[in-house]
């Protein structure tokens, strides 16, 4: 069970260049990358975010580059899950295989109903997103079976293919 506050960016196509701009790609230190998370979209982000918090966004979150720096920067900035209407494929893989954060696919109801600053609880066993601030419960799209096994194992390197 994960609990945290949501940072809502009500837009589609939040790309990897705004999550962590290109000039920082040469940096490998995770904590250093975290200082620049979401710099291209919100310079206040790293000051506001607390450990365990969530991001809420629209379609195609994480589109663009294959840079694993994107989920790393978000994770080390404190983000434990991104809730979005859909995810770009490489961001999704990187988030799960590297066990940095959970990519949670939600529906329009949750996207529209959850507001910036709301307190949420995410339960990936029941596939539920609970909005504690508003007293509402939304369904999340269950992880496909392989993804769930990798998540449960704690990343691809801890997962043993059957």
């Amino acid at each position: 069970m994960m609990k945290g506050r949501v940072h809502k960016y009500a837009r589609d196509n939040i790309d990897t260049d705004v999550i962590i701009p290109g000039p920082y790609l040469k940096i490998m230190d995770h904590n250093e990358l975290a200082k620049h998370a979401m710099e291209g979209i919100d310079r206040e982000f790293v000051k506001k975010v607390k450990k365990g918090d969530f991001i809420l966004a629209g379609r195609n979150f994480g589109c663009g580059s294959s840079r694993e720096h994107a989920p790393i920067a978000l994770s080390y900035a404190g983000i434990s899950a991104v809730l979005a209407l859909s995810f770009a494929r490489i961001f999704y893989r990187n988030a799960v295989d590297g066990a940095y954060l959970l990519p949670i696919e939600i529906g329009e109801d949750a996207y529209n109903g959850i507001e910036d600053g709301d307190e949420l609880e995410i339960d990936i066993e029941r596939n539920e997103v609970r909005n504690i601030s508003k007293g509402k419960v939304y369904a999340m799209r269950p992880f496909p079976p392989l993804i769930k096994r990798i998540v449960d194992a704690g990343g691809l390197f801890n997962y043993t293919p059957e």
């Binding site: 260049d17 705004v18 000039p23 694993e68 490489i90 295989d97 079976p145």
Partner: protein, 428 residues
Amino acid sequence: MCGMTITEKILARASNRERVTAGDVVFASVDKVMVHDVSGPGVMMVLRELERKGKRVERVWDPDRVWIAEDHFVPAVDKIAAENIITLERMSERFGIKKHFRYGLGQYGICHTLSHEEAMVLPGEVYVGGDSHTNTTGALGCFATGMGHTDIAYVLIHGKIWFRVPETLLFRLEGHIPPYIMAKDIILKIIGDNGTDVANYKAMQFAGSAVAEMPMDERFTLTNMTTEAGAKNGIIEPDERTIAYVKERTDRPFKALKGDDDAEYEEVFTYEVDELEPIVAKPYSPANIAYARELNSVEIDRAYIGSCTGAKYTDLLEAARILKGRKAKVRLEVLPASQSIYMKALKDGLLSIFLEAGAVIGPPTCGACCGAHMGVLAKDEVCVSTTNRNFPGRMGHVESKTYLASPKVVAASAVTGRITDPRDVADG
């Protein structure tokens, strides 16, 4: 039961199955894997973390299937970039990786260009690279896709990785390509019409008479930009031109595959290329398209000819045809995609044309395409570029503006200082 697409056939072969269908999850054997100066150090970080947990990696699964490019921050832009290059050197030495293209030591360049120029990857293979534009190489008829460094590290150790077999969107490009149209116009049109996530998790396959008549360089532009439509892979079935291209570069054997006649495509899109007009993608999305002529009032500060998308030999040649005997009105940069393209452009006189036009010629590097170096944009600066992305801050300041276009449009625009349709300058 219907047949398989080329993507399904390659993944079936690589996962030792009779057949796979879109939606199946497979652990497939990988034939080739690439890292560069961003993803390579990332991989080494993963290996260090494994070592810290007591699982030191002594060897990679097959060093002859691994290759290394130096392209993003080279020549080393600062101390960190220089350390990353040393990390790559240590990586090749530790694991016995022989194919390492070093800058300043002969042939090197942008990984996606080397992948086909140097026949690092062959038709029918499964190829993964630590870079999103790995899709480019699919124009050889291989399954080519980009991944992050954890996945790449996993492949280096195990030689295989999981894939969800993608559905295929088939794009039929019919008719003949007009002289003012390039593959870049076609792919921008496709992305503009269908959106930047139309192919998310899916394969984009190109076929039709217009693809058949395209030189390989142009086909690589199509598959390169499938990444901008979200695609897992871009692919073109090999034809005689593909086979000849590969055989000119290697005598290693390969097995070219094609899809079955009754393969199932999720959707088929048809474009008549005769009707196309030069297209530009406005800031801040490759899908935000307009005709070049509609943007003729847009004044530019910079013209950039570079990257895996737009600095292949054909790209330089087409730009030079327009720039010949003319002066650029705005700052013009040309960065050939590889050392061999640079040399051919030198021998064929293209570099003289660029220099006489006033251009600065840079070394092969990803350069300003990813905002790294070599002509980064300031706030409010406007650039027309042969590259593939124009997200906020992509080429520099978050309030700079990049317009994506074909090399012909970029060359014509450099001459006039405004976004210009190549038909509106003579010889365009």
